[in-house]
Symmetry: C2
């Protein structure tokens, strides 16, 4: 039998009625002849409750105990889903991570899946079981302790199962009906994409689109898992949602596929740093040691042996970054001033079409300039251009770019 | 190091503050030099919530999935308790049933513990861990599925660990401060017992005293586990609570140790049954097949080849019993009438002193007679006398018997 993986997130299994609705969807796929592996999250709110208890009990918690506590929400949903399917006369059973087993590293609370031997579940499929309901987000370490994969880890669980079982497709059921050209809440012309390439999805995910966990997209790309994002709140056909796939499968596409944004950006500038070899290594080495995730970097043209160094980072890491820079101010880094700007945001355009078509950056800059939006920092990759602008221009920038690249029209 | 087992019930770990209070008690025992095994229940209310979800999802649930869902509450408490102890600098870790492993039968939702190999936990004690926090009520079947032991099963988990680890004692922390001569809520002279024999505790537990699960007392008796019941809500000395122990350890005791009662009793009478050999076997075989737990049985003296057969049973099994009796009325059982009396209760006196002292039954009957209480059914065992009386007399009967046997006075 061909295997299909279906993943249901927290809002899709938030209560018994929604679990029943999800079970009906599963029943439809079973009727088509699939052996189905269902990955479930905890009922929405449950994981936050458990995390809250752990944090209140022990602010610097032992991550092994954190994992033992926090993984329990998924176990509840898995059992309830199996029971719901049984009530519909669909042969099903639940599996906790250690029962499969989902073998992970020992990096508790952010473990990585190392292997998923399919033998145990396949044996049950051979005996007539139609659905294996697996608790997402969790696994077992080489030491036999329970691990978790980090927030949103159930997406990664789903893709890893699809890879391990050679699944025909991995359907991610969520509370949106697919991947959009941009966030429909800030741009009403946003259009749902029928298909998007792995590379594009990866950029969008890491740029702040919250549809899929970045790691799950990486994994899908590496193992060529066909990934589909669709809504659990609507009747769905085989063509519903957005298919995340190899770019070869996308016949026609716009040069730009989507516009992403991120509010949680800050900009820091070290004013008048000595411009000598190794200075960047000192600055960014120190920031890295302090656990700061630097994103964009700009170095001004040198003026009389001194330069300005500007970089962007997540707003919640500003305190850490300031502390780290102050520590080396006196010693190695003889900068004049440290200027922090919290009123910035990042706006990006993404598209595999950029590889073959030039002029995208120039067009982007002109659109922003025409709207009177000043660009503070720029970074580019092969399929992405990101700019840092004042936060007050965020909606305007997204809408203007969406219009200019005509994203409301399909290719 | 000597091993101590401490068990905390649902109300003793109902929230983070209570978990902290329990952890302090554990710290006291660790400071005395014990290696401690802590058995925890789910936070109070959690198991009921999970059971509710299962029942709503699937009234005739697959018990394997029931167990997978319902066991999760204990896992949460175990992790939180381990974290709380770590915060107090007590080396601790949590263990789920399958990690120990607590090996049980496959009788899901009412599994029996078959073996608890101590090697894994002992190895951690040897490495310096002071407290193993074990999720109570759960285990793993030979098939690798999660099992549960039935409601109140954490008491049994605690006693089984005490037996497997040769623990010096098994302390059951609960919301009462010990075992009383009777229920203090209906008899203000009720006195806490310092010691009680296993056999007496077993009778009291099965007669409705809710302090300990019956099976845990059986197990303690078989393996000679010293069992102590005490309150988690008071400061406790080494002599606090009630010690359940071998009768040899009790130097002095009253003839009667306690008075128990049960409200949930019903009486049924089959009027004018043919009095021939095998008739009792037909009646009680049929009731047993229907899952009715018959308690007391009385057969009247035969009159012209016919007799009345009276028995007591839990009130919630009356429907089942009536159905079963109706089914065989026409065929084998030619009784005239089936009379059900729901307004009865059972009152019992228990004491190992009865073995050596006669006249307890006579005294009991006289006390009740003096109060004008009519006895409907009587059963006796070596250390117990139970009577069925009208429910309206329950409090009066308990108080009168407590007075007559002078239970307010220590031996």
């Amino acid at each position: 039998m061909p295997v299909l993986v279906m993943k249901f997130g927290g809002t899709s299994v938030a209560n018994l009625d929604r679990i029943k609705r999800a079970a009906k969807r599963i029943g439809v796929e079973v009727a088509k002849g699939y052996d189905v592996i269902v990955i479930v999250s905890a009922m929405s709110g449950k994981t936050n409750e458990l995390v809250g208890w752990v944090n209140e009990t022990s602010p610097l918690f032992d991550a092994r105990e954190y994992d033992a506590v926090v993984s329990s929400g998924e176990n509840v949903t898995a059992g309830l889903m199996a029971l719901t399917l049984q009530e519909m006369n669909v042969p099903a059973r639940s599996w906790q991570g250690w029962q499969v087993p989902v073998m992970t590293t020992s990096a508790h609370s952010q473990a990585r899946i190392e292997d998923i031997p399919p033998a145990n579940i396949m044996a049950k499929f051979d005996e007539g079981m139609k659905v294996a309901v697996v608790a997402g987000f969790q696994g077992i370490s080489p030491e036999g302790r329970i691990t978790t994969l980090g927030r949103g880890g159930s997406d990664t669980t789903a893709v890893a199962f699809a890879a391990a079982f050679g699944a025909e497709r991995c359907d991610i059921y969520t509370d949106v009906d697919g991947v959009y050209t941009t966030d429909p809440r800030i741009c009403e012309k946003a259009r749902k994409l029928d298909k998007i390439a792995f590379e594009e999805m990866l950029e969008l995910a890491s740029l702040g689109a919250k549809v899929l966990q970045t790691r799950s997209v990486e994994l899908a790309m590496r193992y060529k898992v066909k990934l589909r994002v669709l809504s659990s709140f609507e009747e769905q056909s085989d063509e519903a949602g957005t298919l995340v796939c190899d770019e070869e499968e996308i016949m026609e596409s716009n040069v730009v596929s989507g516009v992403a944004y991120s509010r949680d950006e800050a900009k820091m500038t070290l004013v008048s740093v000595a411009d000598r070899p190794g200075i960047a290594s000192i600055i960014f080495g120190k920031l890295s040691d302090a656990g700061v995730n630097v994103d964009m970097i700009v170095q001004n043209i040198s003026d009389e042996g001194r330069t300005d160094m500007t970089f962007s980072l997540p707003t919640d890491q500003v305190g850490r970054a300031e502390k780290a820079m102050n520590e080396i101010k006196g010693q190695e880094l003889n900068y004049e001033e440290l200027v922090t700007d919290l009123d910035v945001c990042k706006v990006s355009v993404v598209g595999i079409g950029m590889r073959s078509q030039s002029g995208v950056a120039a067009k982007m800059f002109k659109v922003l300039s025409d709207e009177g939006i000043n660009i503070k920092v720029i970074t580019t990759s092969e399929i992405k251009i990101s700019v840092l602008v004042d936060r007050k221009y965020m909606e305007l920038a997204v809408q203007a770019l969406h219009d200019a690249f005509e994203l409301e029209k399909a290719a």
